[in-house]
């Protein structure tokens, strides 16, 4: 099985996805129109990734971390602007978590750990794309991030 640093990074990535699903549920109700559609789409993507990650961990003999009952650090979300900021934060935190997993997997020698590089790359990229879509709404002239997850 993978070394501890890889496992802990994997668990952290799962925890970030769990937080993202919770957070989008929280912020989606503050949005309307296309932004609400975007939030719903992001929430579904994170839920799929959360489930796939938990399944992969279980298949690898790793007990997936349980989601928390609540995430007080995500509150309050009083309006649409706060909702967009939270969405961006959730995506940035997921990107960081997946990049750390990529780094740990790329530093490990075990083949099981190396096998996590591809899903970590895909998930880092997916969060970077979603974060960019939120930034386009907030500040179109500063929508990109040269180093997502760093």
């Amino acid at each position: 099985m993978t070394a501890d640093p890889v496992q802990s990074a994997w668990q952290a990535a799962l925890a970030a996805e769990q937080q993202a699903v919770f957070g989008y549920g929280l912020l989606g109700v503050r949005l309307a129109g296309a932004q609400r559609v975007l939030a719903a789409s992001c929430e579904r993507a994170h839920a799929r990734l959360r489930d796939a990650t938990a399944l992969a961990m279980a298949a690898a003999g790793v007990e997936p971390v349980a989601p928390r009952a609540d995430y007080p650090a995500l509150y309050p979300v009083p309006d649409a602007a706060a909702a967009r900021r939270l969405a961006l934060r959730l995506e940035d935190e997921c990107a960081v978590a997946w990049r750390v997993l990529y780094l740990r997997a790329a530093s490990a020698t075990e083949s099981a750990a190396r096998g996590l590089r591809a899903p970590a790359q895909q998930s880092l990229t997916a969060s970077a794309v979603r974060a960019t879509r939120w930034r386009v709404i907030e500040s179109p002239s500063r929508a990109t991030d040269p180093f997502p997850g760093i």
Binding site: A95, R99, Y102, L103, A106, S107, R117, A120, Q121, L124, T125, A128, V129, A131, T132, R133, V136, P140, S141, R142, A143, T144, D145, P146, F147, P148, G149, I150
Partner: protein
């Protein structure tokens, strides 16, 4: 007491003294240098940079050249191009700094590793062509990341993610 030509003699002696001192100093310096070269082991040469890092820098230069050559587009597209260009410039800086931490091949020049400061002239691209180039660049960066380990790999993984966001913005 006055000596005819005494001043000249003193001057000559002083010149000889100074010359002798300089020679002694030079000799001592040479001895020290010889000692250094004889007994000091030169610092270990760092290996040359992985070729994939050099290729990644070259790819960034090519993307920058094409973006610089692309002068048309609506204001919205121009805004995206400006941001994408700034990202590629940041990628190139990071890669160049990383490559510079390595040695250069025997007989090689730093520029042969780091590449020319000025890339070949770029080609003006349509928005669709830029989008395609970003997608290909993202795929290539992820593939290069896979050939590296540790922080180098993670840097290229992040660059790959950024280039995918560029393609998405250009959609």
């Amino acid at each position: 007491m006055n000596y005819p030509g005494g001043g000249a003699q003193r001057g000559t002696s002083r010149r000889w003294f100074l010359a002798g001192g300089a020679a002694a100093l030079l000799g001592a310096g040479a001895g020290v240098a010889a000692e250094f070269w004889t007994h000091e082991t030169p610092p270990p040469r760092r290996p040359t940079p992985p070729q994939v890092l050099v290729d990644a820098a070259a790819a960034e230069r090519a993307l920058l050249a094409d973006l610089d050559a692309t002068t048309g587009g609506t204001p919205a597209v121009r805004s995206v191009i400006r941001q994408v260009r700034a990202d590629h410039a940041a990628h190139l800086r990071a890669l160049t700094e990383l490559i510079a931490t390595y040695g250069v091949p025997a007989g090689g020049r730093p520029s042969s590793v780091l590449g020319s400061a000025s890339a070949a002239p770029g080609t003006p691209r349509t928005r669709a062509a830029l989008r395609g180039a970003e997608r290909r660049a993202a795929t290539a960066a992820a593939r290069r990341a896979d050939q590296l380990t540790g922080g180098h790999a993670a840097l290229l993984a992040s660059i790959a993610a950024a280039e995918t966001t560029h393609a998405d913005l250009l959609s």
